[in-house]
Symmetry: C2
Subunit: 248 residues, 2 copies
């Protein structure tokens, strides 16, 4: 029920996923709004609706959202996972609340202090995993090591990379060092059970830097596409626009 154009786009995404994956989908939220949107689902799709009367607001403080109890769609979703009625939970909603629910209602794996948001970035040699993209704005060096291990596991299991290589996001060609956090994490990562070097498949950073990076890359893309669109008054511009809208 959260995020841009919810629940329409979230249901549309679920229908698209249902046509590709043989999985059971549970849509949690306002039944009245969701039901008509699911009408177009293919007959064989396994889609179930679980009603939740309330919604976590996008600007709601995370702890307040957790305290409201299992009346919101986000809280109900987490209860399904907690009670083993679902295996995973997806949300386009309030990311701070999502993090709080995952910490408080599900708890991290043993040895993991904090969850991280992992994002998949396009790159010349295939997709890369970048984490943390915004869950933890201030990190301890050992958290970066845990993110590295989780990111490598994701790269291997989901993207099929045989032995994922992990790098710390740092700066400078002539400067030999990053900031204090990066300098402290570097020797820890060298000792971690991951490949740390080379052309990387996984990039690790704190959630502040990762979120700035994510928004900036999006912003740069929008800026360039916007500038090209402005040229779209010419017929050449129109043809470029068409090309951009249908890449490969």
């Amino acid at each position: 029920m959260g995020g841009d154009n919810a629940p329409r786009e979230i249901v549309a995404g679920t229908l698209a996923a249902a046509s590709q994956f043989d999985a059971h989908f549970v849509l949690v939220g306002d039944q009245k709004q969701i039901e008509p949107l699911v009408k177009g689902a293919p007959r064989e799709a396994k889609i179930e609706i679980v009603h939740a009367p309330e919604v976590v607001a996008m600007d709601e403080p995370p702890v307040a959202a957790v305290r409201r109890g299992a009346v919101t769609s986000m809280a109900k979703s987490f209860e399904l996972v907690r009670n083993s009625e679902a295996d995973a939970v997806f949300s386009a909603g309030n990311s701070g609340a999502f993090l709080a629910f995952s910490m408080i209602r599900l708890r991290p794996l043993a040895g993991i202090a904090r969850p991280a948001f992992a994002t998949i970035w396009p790159a010349r040699n295939g997709p890369m995993v970048v984490l943390d993209a915004g869950a933890n704005v201030d990190c301890k060096p050992e958290w970066l090591v845990q993110f590295a291990i989780m990111g490598a596991a994701y790269s291997h299991a989901v993207l099929g990379v045989d032995k994922p290589k992990v790098g710390l996001l740092s700066i400078g060609e002539e400067e030999s060092k990053g900031n204090e956090l990066i300098d402290a994490a570097t020797p820890l990562l060298a000792d971690a059970p991951i490949e740390f070097a080379g052309d990387v498949d996984v990039i690790v950073c704190d959630g502040f830097v990762g979120n700035v990076a994510l928004k900036l890359a999006e912003g740069a893309g929008e800026y360039i596409f916007g500038a090209l669109k402005e040229a779209a008054t010419t017929s050449l511009g129109a043809r470029i626009g068409a090309l951009l809208l249908r890449p490969k």
Copy 2:
């Protein structure tokens, strides 16, 4: 003498500047290499060469570069400013060494703890000043306030913005907070003699975040242009390529 394709591109830039500005230019470096490159200068250009036999290497530790004394082109350039024989120094070379020379040989203005690298970013409503873009990887909150004041002064004096508005680079729409540094700097900036709010003309951040942002925006641009260039086997692609190389 430092940076990519030096001294050729640096001299070419100087000649371009000499055709636009009524200023006196001093090129500091290897006279033998520079002299033939200056040959094409227009007769009226005021360009002088000051010989320096050595060059600060791009990977040289900054303090080592300062200790070598005034034999390098970078050291000589700073001496010219220190002795009031020049008003400003430009370099495409080792940025860490440049920072060290500016701190040690020139000293910051009163009330300014550290210099910052300011960059000009294209944006929909005109250019923005972004600083620090990499001089200080770990910052104190009060340094960000000083960067804000310097950035606003630059925006006003160089870009002609009447009352520049300054913003802190932070993240999140629903999250109300940045990281510890941003949270500490926010109330200080609200009290500083600058306009802090609204659609900004100046963006302030620490040098680690600013440098990641800069490289990422460049990287995103290169990625998108690279993808478009790959399409350049078609005649449409070739025409797009020409368009991209000659924006406006």
